[in-house]
Structures are given as C-alpha cells and as structure tokens.
Symmetry: C2
Subunit: 347 residues, 2 copies
C-alpha cells in the first residue's frame, strides 16, 4: 500500500463550511474542499427512510426488505463512456439508470445509490458536481437518493462506480434462469435505439435527438418491473444491457434455449431510416446493440394477454419476440444471428 491509503474518505468526514469554488480543478480545491462541496450540495436532501445520509462513517436507511436487493455497475471513461460526446451530466444520469435497471429487472423498488468516484486532479469541480447532480436526480426520480460513497484519485481514466440498493417481496422477485420450456419471451418498449444513438454520436451527428437520448439518457423500467413482479405472471426476467441476443439467454437454465423471431423484434420507430442513412442493419442493432435497458421476460403462453394488460396499466408495452425451446443457446427465425456481445477484456 502506498500513501496513507484508505483514508476514510467517505463523504462522512466532511464538516460543512466554506463556499463553493466550482470553477476550479479538483487538484485546486483538494479532497477536503471537494468533499465539502459535495456535502453542501448533497447532504441536505431529506428522503423518506434515509436516517443518515452524507455525514457519518456510513449512511443509514430504515429497514430494507423483506428482500434487500443489491447490484453494482462500474463505468470507466474510454470504455463505458466518452466525454467526446457525453457530458458529465449524461454520464451521471446513465450510471444511475444502468444500476436502477438491474433493480427493475428484479421487480424491486429502488431505495438508494452509493457512488465511488475516481478522479484526476485536472478534472473540473463543476463537471464532477454536474455528474453527481444528474446521478442524484435520476436516483431520486426513482426513489433512490444518493446517500454516500467515496472519492479517490486516479491517474488514468475517470471511474464511476455505483452500487444500488432496492427492496422487494421475496416470493415476487423476478429471477433469471427460471423460465420453462414453451414459455413465451417478451420485451418491453422498443429495441435498437441506444445502438443507433451510439452510431450517430460516433459520427458526430446531433440528430435525431430521440436516438441520442436513448443512448445518453436511458430510462430504467422500474415501474414496469414492479408491476410485473406484483402480477405473479412472470417466470423469469432480466434487463437488456448487453443486447437481446445475450440477455434473453439469462431467462433460461443452461439445458434450455431461446428461439427469437427476427421480424417480431419491436424496433424503435425510425430505426430503419437511421440504419439505412448510416449503412447499418437495424436488426443487428435491435439484437445485439444493447443498452436499451428494456426488460426481457418469460411467461406461460396462456398468461401473455394478462401480462400485456399489466404492462399497459403502467403505460408500457410488451411484445412477444420468441419462445423457450429445448435446444440450448440462441436460435433465430428469419435470419442469421449477428455476432455480438461486448466483452470488456476481448476474450
């Protein structure tokens, strides 16, 4: 270990005083100064069930459960986000959404977010606060205030490491790998928009805005996840972060597979136009693009109409896209399976 390392730099160590110096770099205000600004800006929100927020060795929430749900997502600059086309606010909002989506996929209610940031001394304080403000805002929107975290210096890419805590009813939680042979596979909303948005941003394009928003400001399906869990009609569920081709397989145990129907995929409206403008294949985006943060669920054939009504009551749609089959792995009716799936380590 090198410096006096784990120097308890939880945000709890901050005493409130001093005024904001947001125009400076992180290295100018120092860790203590930045913690002060964070406490001033984020320590004051009162949220139901949050007994201690930023300002102690740890945050304290009133009891979580009966099922306490925990998930984590670490975003790394240059790998998971790029400031060439995403603002700090975009990054914060997306970090929150990606984490909340995991809670949604369990059919649980988000309760709080924890954020650990790895920053460079050259990073601007205003950018750090913008990232945190967007993250905290998205969290609050879905009932999960930002309650604590950590700061560390990184001589490398910026690190945005989030942990989300949710709560749910134990028997109602939506699990992976629990679908049964013959179950129908459905997806919420529409697919391919986030991948199209990414392709547009990479080419420096700033329209159509709806596609950019799908990439930069994804919306976690929290209300839908809760409604599906309460319905008791879902045999298995996951969120679509890697792309349907990969995430649909999370629904089934290893000895079963999923057969998708290419023509059934609910493409985001206008996807075909963006694809042909960029010379891309909309089906590939919809199948493997990922980051749509929709839910993919399985249900018994006879429950499909009821489940669609459950979704409609929270203003969402579910589209049948395939079925659980005997043959393990993914099959696709209507076309070859595009090579896809992101592997952080290129394995």
């Amino acid at each position: 270990m090198s410096g006096p390392p784990n120097d308890g730099n939880n945000w709890g160590m901050v005493k409130l005083s001093g005024s904001a110096r947001t125009h400076q770099a992180v290295g100018d205000v120092g860790e203590h100064g930045l913690l002060q600004l964070i406490a001033e800006r984020f320590g004051r929100f009162k949220a139901p069930g949050v007994l201690v927020s930023i300002g102690d060795d740890a945050a304290v929430l009133k009891h979580i459960g009966p099922g306490a749900v925990l998930s984590a997502d670490m975003l790394v600059e240059g790998v998971d986000f790029d400031f060439a086309w995403a603002t700090p606010s975009d990054v914060g909002a997306k970090a929150a959404a990606a984490n909340l989506s995991d809670v949604a996929a369990m059919g649980a209610k988000p309760r709080c977010l924890m954020l650990s940031l790895g920053l460079r001394t050259r990073d601007h304080v205003a950018d750090v606060l913008a990232l945190m403000t967007a993250l905290a805002r998205v969290g609050r929107t879905f009932g999960a205030p930002l309650v604590g975290g950590d700061l560390s210096r990184v001589d490398g890419p910026m690190i945005v490491s989030v942990t989300v805590v949710g709560e749910g009813q134990l028997r109602a939680l939506l699990r992976r790998q629990h679908a049964r042979l013959g179950d129908v596979v459905l997806v919420s909303g529409s697919l391919g928009g986030a991948a199209a948005g990414l392709a547009l941003l990479r080419q420096g394009q700033r329209a159509p805005r709806s596609f950019l928003a799908r990439q930069l400001r994804p919306r976690p399906q929290v209300a839908l996840g809760l409604a599906l869990a309460r319905s008791g009609l879902v045999t298995s569920a996951a969120d679509i972060s890697d792309g349907l081709a990969k995430d649909a397989l999370h629904l089934v145990p290893p000895h079963l597979g999923v057969e998708l129907v290419r023509e059934a995929l609910p493409q985001m409206p206008g996807l075909g136009r963006v694809a042909s403008a960029l010379g891309a294949d909309p089906y590939t985006w919809a199948l493997t693009g990922g980051e749509d943060f929709e839910l993919v669920v399985a249900t018994r054939q006879r429950d499909v109409p009821r489940l669609k009504r459950v979704a409609a009551r929270v203003g969402e749609t579910l589209t049948a896209v395939g079925r659980v089959v005997k043959r393990p792995g993914l099959s696709l009716q209507g076309g070859p399976i595009p090579r896809g799936g992101f592997d952080h380590f290129g394995g």
Copy 2:
C-alpha cells in the same frame, strides 16, 4: 458512451461451465471466462440471510435492519495500494477490512460486501482470484459474504471498489459529531503500527512482521463496535483511517474541539524501536499515520471505567487519550501537532 457500455456485466450473467484457467491473463480468458471462474469459485457459498448471491441481476438478502448501514471505499493502485510490496491477497484483505471498519465504527453488524473491479487485459487471472478470495474470506470472517459486483476494463491503474452493507439497532448506532463538552476521548488497541509497517515496506524491509501485518492485513474492530453500541455508553465514534489527529475531530460538532495528550497515546509495542531504526518519530506515526483501523470514541467521564470493562469483555482495550474541549479543532498537550492528513488531490 463508447463500447456497448453498461453491458450488464454483473456477475449474474454467468452460466457455470468450463474449467479454471487461472494461469492465463484476463485478456486471454475474456470477460465471460473470468465471470465463469468467479461464479464457480464464489457463487457456491451459502450464507445465512443471503437468498441470491452471484447469479442474477442482483444479489438478494433477507431483510436488513432496523437500521441498514451502507459505506463504500474505492482503492486505486499506485494511490491506495502498490503491488511492489502488497500481494493481490493483501489488497483484497485490506479492501474488505477498510470497509468493515466503517461498519464497526457505526456499531453495526456487517451483512455483505459488493466488489467492482477495474482490470487490465494483462492482469493475471490467478491474481484477480487471489484478491477476491482474500476479500471474500475477510468478509465471511466478519459475517459479510461477497454477494456480487461488477467487472470493467481499465486502461490505467487497477481499481478495487467495495461497498459494504451492515445492520444495526437505530438508537444504538454510533454516530459522528455527537460528543459533548467534557467527554473523554478513548482509542482502542494501539496506534502507529500501520504507518511503521508502510515505512518498513517502502524501504524493502520484511521485518518486524507484526508491523508489516498491521499495514497489510488490518483488523476491523467489528466485535468492539457492536459491544460499544450495545453498551449505550458511547456518545460518538469513528474509525481511525486517516490518523487520530484527523479522525478524533469527527467526534465533535464544529463548535467544539479535541485536546489530545501526547504521552497518553497507546503506541504499538516496539513502535519506538522501529521509529529510531528508521529515524522517524513514533508520535507522528501514532497521531497522523492512519490506517490503524482502531476506533476512537467519546464517553462521559463517569462512564470510562464501565466502557473499559465492556471492551475487555470482547478482548479489547480502550485508552483515554484526551478530552472534548471548547476550542474548535485539535489541541495537543506535550508537543507540536505534526502536519498530517492525506489528501487524495493534494489540495
């Protein structure tokens, strides 16, 4: 955002199959291969209260509370640890201990750990698993199994980002800034050992082992924290991660201060010898070295003997080192206050 980013690379996506290939680099086995190894090694442990561990969108624990306690610590290679003298196991064990220490300082019971790792393709799989194994072992020792997390690629220093969840009785939780004028300030165990260990390691020395262990394998004061919380005798508490000079001030509200007595500091046995061998000042190590992960607490004068007996019953000692005074900030009887305190951003 660049790749298909938040690719849901929670450990939940893993299907168990294949055999361990621990002699390879992370880039050889790929993300999926590494996740497989992680699930094989860490997904099988059954722990009371853990309903879903590695293997779904999120981990699920039976209800946490009445007070759910959350803390986070992010360790960065080159800043918070250095593989020049710490093994991957050391880093994992310390990451767990640093987080558990925050729960101990709240007087709460650890329940689980979440781990997000930022790795390079060149990192050895065996080292990653060794780090995780040590972290999981320390967690289990204190009742907090590793239940989930995330992997991401980092083209920079290795990132070890941990979140710990604990539970406690709401009224009994040990808070910061709640000490009152005239309270006695006590510390558990002994001080300066971790700083001495760091100084030895930096000079390439491998003895005395007790000091190296204090730096590399710190022990969180979980049982003591729980006993102190149950006693109802502690007015305020924090853990010593930044050094007593900084952490003692966490006990008091901003309008009060702490006066420490230099000669009262419980130095780790043999600290003087190591200090004189290295030409260092043992008092500086004890006051500002940090990372001892002892607890610093405040109590009313009349409760000091009872509190010491509470500590003795869990095999620990408490030593009175000072008092809460009117003058804000830190005062020191018996010598000048050494400059200290680690600031990640050098502010």
